[in-house]
């Protein structure tokens, strides 16, 4: 009995300590729903989104009680997984539009690649990278691939989908962006640094430049994905350097050049529209970018903007358009509020006086250069030691760049499925090819692509050795040339001789058969979709031959430009 009383002497003080302990434990008195305590000064997204932070950044089930962890805060409210919940109340229409558009489904990329690699019988959309009401998710990649078709989904997921709205991008210069709708509508600077009013976020990398909707969307935003050898990069004049370390030049600044989009670049002449200050969104409206409701198959039918809308059709009827309203005689009002005089199509331009040119798309002549990347080799290397690839570490891929140091030395052995190494045979910006698009116009065509696929498993067995895939409908090689509309428009078109008389331009390849095994890559291959085609024999002949009609027109053009007058011929 005495012992019991004595026990109380220590029990009571101990028990009374318990309340004190709770002070040491993390209390739920930090409620992360009081955002503005830390994020004081943060901007409103815009006047139509002046909600409490929680409305966008917390799922409904997390809003009602104190929030004990910051991890539940949605960094990207518009990411595909929860955009319906967080934005759907007001934006159901836009979300449905986007879901069927190419930006969401990547239908062209997935359909064409899977078809060319023999994994599906036609290039129509069947799969989507994020959840979709109709399209299925990509089948899981086989763990023991044996054929090219076995590998295509792995390639798509681990190399191509870095530019998908639902995927977190590499945190590198030029590549920072949001997810879902935010990928376009919330502007991330190229350096990914927040420069707005929020003191907590200020100067931090991996955040939008400001917590605000981009109005209008700058060119750099589109380029976060539309970089590399793709339309978009050409608009600003970017052409990638070759991959080998010896092309990491120049060193004028006293150091290796700074990469953007994980690459070094040449600068070529930019599009005249870019020089005049036009943004991508000045031409490409919501319908082009987010689709018009129907499930899009490819860029060919998804994009509807045409040069003629501003510059007038071939026959020269005046027709103006601007982003806000018809301003018939004033010019083009861009999304930054500036007015641009628009040069109209004119018959007085010597080359426009040639009636046969009517069937050409404007870019057939007015594109100054394009992306001509011949002979891509794709090799998945599952071996632990990847040191042999050091010289090509810089190829627009974050994982590969990280495997080696700046001198190309291999840093760490790799476990699991290896990276996909990309390589080319040679790359050019000059000498464009021609073909026919789905609107029956003659347009530039480019190799897109001429795959040679290799796979080495982790034991070093070369399962596939530069295999050329077969199309899924067994109609031939899984190589294709596709139409594209180079955004390298210049006021003066290329010279007639760039196509006329040029075997390469009509799809017959550079020079002849005795030029070795590499140059046949310059021979055209059938495009993917049935409504596209290469030039047929008659068309090719007309382009190649110096017919009397060609000579007459060519002569007339030269005479007008050179100012030669027959009555008084000038001395040379």
């Amino acid at each position: 009995m005495k012992s019991l009383i004595l026990h109380w002497i220590w029990i009571i003080p101990v028990i009374s300590l318990f309340p004190l302990l709770s002070l040491a434990l993390p209390t739920d008195s930090t409620d992360f729903r009081s955002c503005l305590e830390c994020h004081n000064g943060i901007e409103r997204m815009d006047k139509d989104h002046a909600f409490p932070c929680m409305t966008c950044h917390l799922l409904p089930e997390d809003r009602g009680q104190p929030l004990d962890t910051h991890a539940k805060v949605m960094r990207h409210p518009a990411a595909p997984e929860h955009v319906d919940v967080l934005c759907g109340a007001c934006h159901q229409r836009e979300i449905s539009l986007l879901r069927n558009s190419l930006h969401y489904t990547l239908a062209g990329i997935i359909g064409q690649t899977r078809y060319l690699w023999g994994a599906q019988e036609d290039p129509m959309p069947k799969y989507a990278p994020s959840k979709h009401p109709v399209l299925k998710p990509l089948p899981p990649s086989t763990s023991m691939p044996e054929t090219v078709a076995d590998l295509v989904d792995d390639l798509l997921q681990r190399r191509c989908f870095r530019c998908h709205l639902g995927q977190v991008p590499p945190q590198r210069k030029g590549l920072y962006r949001g997810l879902g709708c935010g990928a376009c509508h919330v502007y991330y600077a190229d350096d990914g640094v927040y420069k707005g009013g929020d003191a907590t976020l200020w100067g931090k990398r991996g955040y939008p430049e400001k917590h605000a909707f981009a109005k209008p969307i700058p060119v750099e935003q589109c380029l976060h994905c539309h970089n590399g050898p793709r339309v978009g990069a050409d608009y600003v004049g970017l052409f990638e350097h070759d991959y080998h370390m010896s092309y990491r030049t120049p060193w004028r600044g006293g150091s290796l050049p700074e990469t953007i989009y994980l690459m070094d670049h040449h600068r070529l002449k930019a599009d005249i529209h870019q020089e005049r200050g036009l943004l991508c969104v000045d031409c490409h409206d919501q319908g082009d970018v987010m689709g018009r409701g129907k499930l899009s198959v490819s860029q060919q039918e998804a994009i509807s903007v045409q040069c003629e809308q501003c510059h007038g059709p071939w026959d020269g009827d005046k027709k103006w358009a601007s982003s806000d309203s018809e301003q018939a005689d004033k010019g083009f009002l861009d999304r930054q509020g500036r007015m641009h005089p628009v040069p109209l199509w004119e018959r007085s331009v010597p080359a426009h006086g040639v009636e046969e040119m009517r069937g050409l798309h404007c870019t057939s002549c007015h594109a100054a250069w394009g992306f001509y990347d011949y002979g891509p080799s794709l090799l998945r290397d599952d071996r632990a030691d990847l040191s042999r690839w050091g010289p090509w570490r810089l190829q627009g891929d974050e994982r590969i760049a990280g495997l080696f140091d700046q001198t190309g030395r291999f840093l760490e052995t790799v476990d699991g499925p290896g990276p996909w190494f990309l390589s080319w045979q040679f790359r050019r910006w000059e000498n464009l090819h021609l073909g026919v698009d789905n609107k029956k116009r003659i347009v530039p065509f480019r190799p897109h692509y001429q795959y040679m696929v290799s796979f080495v498993d982790k034991k070093g067995r070369v399962v596939l050795d530069s295999v050329i895939p077969q199309r899924g409908d067994k109609s031939g090689k899984g190589w294709a040339y596709m139409p594209f509309y180079p955004h390298t428009v210049r006021p003066r078109g290329r010279s007639c001789e760039d196509c006329h008389g040029e075997k390469l331009a009509v799809g017959k390849g550079y020079r002849g058969e005795d030029w070795g095994p590499d140059l046949p890559l310059t021979k055209a291959e059938e495009p993917v979709y049935p409504r596209l085609r290469l030039l047929n024999q008659t068309e090719a002949k007309r382009v190649m031959e110096k017919t009397p009609r060609f000579r007459q027109m060519r002569h007339r053009i030269l005479r007008e430009e050179m100012g030669v007058q027959r009555e008084d011929p000038k001395k040379n």
């Binding site: 092309y247 004028r252 600068r267 080319w424 040679f426 010279s495 020079r511 000038k570």
Partner: protein, 604 residues
């Protein structure tokens, strides 16, 4: 008595056996050996039919002490490679053998590298601390530490005849070695352990295979590579083979693409030596600064040949033919001489001046084409064109040579074999082979040009800091025969109206009555190069040279030439064959045009 004579006989027999045995111990081959070398070393095979070991022995070439019978004494003064220029006067060039050759070869440009040294030192004007004319000056002394010469030592000095052969593995090891550099048959000379008694003696030849030339002539202008149709590529190593970059490799981690070989190789199977004579390659005893001054062959030499009586050269022709060993019998009463008077012994002239060409490597006869004197080659308006201007199918163009000196690291000096401070690194901007630029060659004629070299030099100190005062630009366009001869030629417009071919660079060209309006494609300044013209622009649209030319007297087209060439395009839209009537009486028709008497409206 019987016993004594038996013993005596036995003793005599024993002594005789001993003597003979001892003698036989010395004789390993049939017949008496010339030197004692063969006591320990038994070469399998002779260096060549004219160098039979059992007739001339070993020490006549390899020196050493032929009388000694033990290793140390026998090897005193021994020379492993008799062809080395350091000993050639005592070995190959000894009295009674190839006496005149060592002094000729020492003065030849492959031994002096005068062209390389002159160009380097000339282009490095901001570091003229010393100046050197020939490689031998750099080897024998410790001179040559200026930046230009350090660059030479580490980046160029592996390609000359004074270099020691086989100090390193691979291509670098095979280069050099004086006479041996060219005259050895590499496949016959595996690296072997010479302490073993039997070994394969490397073979020498006068029928020098292309591989020997290509050891060195696969860099810089890459003439050896181009001749075989190989283009040093952008280094992708594709298509991959066996899960890695493929085997179309060159030394230094480079790869090549296969384009069209020179027609002489592709159709004729001609080797380098089928054109390049022994005098052109080994020199005529004069020391020339530039390669083209030593080369004694031109397209004309064979294709517009001047057949004449050889006179005193007949004997030399016969001797060279005999030494070749594969030529059919022929007299050399009349023949063709190279530009320096060397007889082309592999051409046979028959009575009616018909020429037959025999390949030097195998003696096979090749169909021979002389230049037709026709409208094409006789056209007066094209008389300034070299053969190469039209008949070169492609030319390797390496735009932007970025050179960096890293003072904090070390690199091997190929002249003395030691690593010394300072590492040179090279990078490039981009490559092309198509649409060769044209300009004026030093001889005043129009010929191909390509970058050679467009140096952007950056120097980094021991801590890796950029030394801005040493940053230097030296942009040069060079002219050479690309060795990509083709029968087919470009179309008229491909030269007359292509801005890149004219030297303006790739871009948009408009020819107006006021002059040329040109918008280039390549934005050098935005690409970080610090210049305001594209890398492929040799000349501005106003006719001002934008880059240096590699020789005094060579230059891009001037404004007058640019205007004349482009305005002809006006005619070429219709009159685009050589057989066009207006060109057949050119002067007369041009006058008619100038005076307004020509009707030039085009077709109705």
């Amino acid at each position: 008595m019987k016993k004594a004579s038996l013993v005596a006989l036995l003793v005599i027999a024993g002594v005789l056996v001993l003597i003979f045995a001892k003698e036989r111990f010395r004789e390993k081959e049939e017949g008496a050996p010339i030197d004692n070398c063969t006591l320990c070393h038994q070469p399998q095979g002779d260096p060549s039919p004219s160098h039979p070991v059992r007739v001339i022995g070993c020490s006549i070439c390899h020196l050493g002490n032929p009388f000694a019978r033990e290793e140390k004494r026998a090897h005193l003064g021994l020379v492993l490679n008799p062809g080395s220029l350091k000993v050639a006067r005592l070995t190959c060039g000894r009295r009674g053998c190839h006496e005149d050759l060592p002094s000729r070869v020492e003065k030849s440009i492959m031994a002096t590298n005068q062209g390389i040294l002159t160009a380097l030192q000339n282009r490095w004007p901001h570091d003229q601390t010393e100046s050197v004319r020939e490689v031998s000056q750099l080897i024998s002394s410790s001179k040559g530490r200026s930046m230009a010469l350090d660059h030479y030592r580490k980046m160029c000095g592996g390609c000359h005849l004074w270099k020691t052969r086989f100090r390193w593995k691979g291509e670098m090891g095979r280069r050099g070695g004086g006479c041996t550099n060219c005259h050895i048959l590499e496949l016959s000379a595996p690296r072997q352990d010479l302490s073993h008694k039997r070994f394969l003696h490397p073979q020498l030849t006068t029928r020098i295979p292309n591989e020997n030339c290509l050891k060195c002539h696969n860099r810089s202008a890459r003439t050896g590579l181009s001749y075989l149709g190989r283009f040093e590529s952008e280094g992708y190593g594709t298509p991959f083979e066996g899960g890695q970059p493929n085997n179309r490799r060159l030394s230094g981690g480079r790869f090549y693409l296969e384009l069209r070989p020179d027609v002489h190789h592709q159709k004729g199977g001609l080797a380098c030596i089928d054109c390049h004579t022994e005098q052109g390659v080994m020199g005529d005893g004069n020391s020339y600064v530039h390669m083209e001054e030593q080369v004694d062959i031109r397209c004309k030499t064979c294709h517009e040949p001047e057949v004449k009586p050889l006179g005193g050269k007949e004997e030399l022709a016969q001797r060279l033919k005999r030494v070749n060993g594969k030529q059919p019998p022929m007299d050399h009463i009349r023949g063709i001489l190279s530009t320096k008077g060397s007889p082309l012994y592999h051409l046979r002239i028959s009575g009616d001046n018909e020429i037959r060409f025999y390949r030097k490597l195998d003696g096979k006869e090749i169909a021979f084409r002389s230049l037709r004197k026709d409208q094409i080659h006789g056209a007066p308006y094209h008389k300034r064109l070299t053969c190469q201007a039209c008949h070169s199918a492609w030319m390797p163009q390496c735009y932007g040579c970025h050179v960096a000196l890293l003072k904090g690291e070390g690199q091997r000096d190929w002249l003395n074999g030691k690593v010394s401070p300072g590492r040179w690194v090279e990078g490039r901007s981009y490559l092309r082979f198509e649409r060769t630029s044209l300009g004026i060659w030093p001889n005043g004629q129009i010929g191909p040009f390509a970058p050679g070299c467009q140096v952007f030099l950056d120097v980094f100190d021991e801590q890796g800091q950029h030394e801005t005062e040493n940053a230097h630009l030296s942009l040069t366009m060079a002219s050479w025969d690309p060795h990509t001869t083709a029968l087919s030629t470009p179309t008229c417009m491909a030269c007359h109206l292509d801005p890149k071919v004219l030297g303006l660079g790739d871009g948009s060209l408009k020819v107006t009555e006021h002059g040329l309006e040109f918008t280039p494609l390549y934005e050098s300044h935005a690409s970080g190069l610090g210049i305001h013209f594209p890398l492929d622009a040799f000349v501005s649209p106003e006719g001002l040279p934008l880059q240096q030319a590699s020789r005094k007297g060579s230059r891009p087209f001037n404004l007058g030439e640019l205007k004349r060439i482009t305005r002809v395009a006006y005619c070429l839209s219709c009159h685009d064959t050589y057989r066009d009537p207006i060109y057949l009486e050119w002067e007369k028709n041009f006058d008619r045009f100038q005076s307004g008497k020509a009707y030039c409206e085009g077709l109705k």
